[in-house]
Symmetry: C2
DNA sequence: TAGATTGTTAATCGATTAACAATC
DNA sequence: TAGATTGTTAATCGATTAACAATC
């Protein structure tokens, strides 16, 4: 019953959301069952790869038939931890921070509810941005403990990122979503995931440049 | 002189921006030279990996010394195509679209200038969002050709993504940055890069859930 | 010179893909 | 039943890491 937690590979975890959105998008078509072949064709993936990815969620399929569609949706969601709402704090109310505060899909699609923002700029403190109250960073530890918030998003300038991470760790935050380019040093029981917009762009613009000059 | 364009691996292209930001962040420290060991320590990477990544840019180092710091910055930037500004169009002025329109770092850091937005909702057409004019999607082909815009960002609902991609391809767009969950079918001379916020979150929330239940 | 670093070739590791028995 | 699919083990492929000669 309890998740065996062999912890799937990053590659698998990156593909599961794709399957999930696809399954949801065809949910209205009243398909009772769906096979790996079916899913793999949508994405051009190898069917075995899809099967292995799905197996990580613990679902058991039926030979010749496939997987029960709504069951599969639920299994992926709970495997990703998206079946319940996790509250989160966001630090850094700059350009990127506001962007993230305003992105509503996190709550509706991914079970992530950013309940408050933090900054060290007094002119921002006390205001509301996208209906989220902005507090001074010094209030984070107390609030994190009181509200039992375990996830923190970091959207501060490079030089401040480690300092903010230290505050979060001290406050009992267990998962940090780091949007800065700074690699963070944290205790090993704290999980860090780095997301940077520019990563995807690097691949795009490099290939775009390489193409015409190619031999 | 011309880029050999053996086209670096995705893994390499994802790490290069990290090195670039790091190099920029220490640029004021007046370091003339920097070594792979130096960079690798900042990120906890293998030094050989850093050396191979850097070698892709075509820079030649000096044994015992390392690489000329400002030269390395320039080489990475031009390898990524970030040394000049590329104009881009954005389609889909929903929650995510506005978010992307307002994110100024694309222009200042990554040489990507989103010059206009497009939507099929007439109520949005003609307005300005973040100082960017919003046009009807039907105007895209004409404007793309006139302004010679080669990059398009897709931030529309899943079901519309392929349709928008088709319009972009037809309009001569050569690089598509797809923020939807839909896999796009395009001719092979068009480059697609998929970026989804939720990917990083999936890794974070899965590991966060797996941890306490772990044996 | 000796030590440190580059550039490159070889070995290792892990993810993807192929093969195949079991199943409804 | 025959065909299609699952679940799993084996083979392949590519990226990471190790080893080492050349260099200033």
């Amino acid at each position: 019953m309890v998740n065996k937690s062999k912890s799937a590979s990053d590659s698998t975890l990156k593909r599961l959301p794709l399957y999930l959105y696809f399954l949801k998008s065809i949910a209205d078509e009243n398909l009772k069952f769906i096979s790996c072949t079916n899913i793999s064709q949508e994405f051009g993936f190898d069917p075995t790869q899809v099967r292995k990815d799905i197996a990580e969620t613990g679902i058991v399929g039926i030979a010749k038939i496939g997987y029960k569609a709504d069951d599969l949706i639920n299994k992926i969601e709970s495997f990703l931890g998206w079946n319940k709402v996790n509250e989160a704090f966001l630090v850094g109310i700059g350009d990127l921070g506001k962007t993230l505060l305003g992105y509503r899909n996190f709550r509706t699609e991914n079970g992530l509810d950013i309940v408050a923002g933090f900054d060290n700029d007094d002119s921002r403190v006390g205001s509301y941005i996208c209906h989220k109250r902005i507090f001074h960073i010094s209030k984070l530890p107390e609030l994190a403990k009181r509200m039992d918030v375990k996830i923190g998003l970091i959207a501060v300038p490079e030089k401040k990122a480690q300092e903010v991470a230290d505050i979060m760790v001290e406050a009992g935050i267990k998962g940090i979503w780091n949007f800065s380019m700074t690699p963070l040093k944290v205790p090993e029981d704290v999980i860090v995931e780095n997301t940077r917009f520019s990563t995807g762009l690097a691949i795009l613009t490099n290939r775009l440049n390489a193409r015409p000059k190619s031999d």
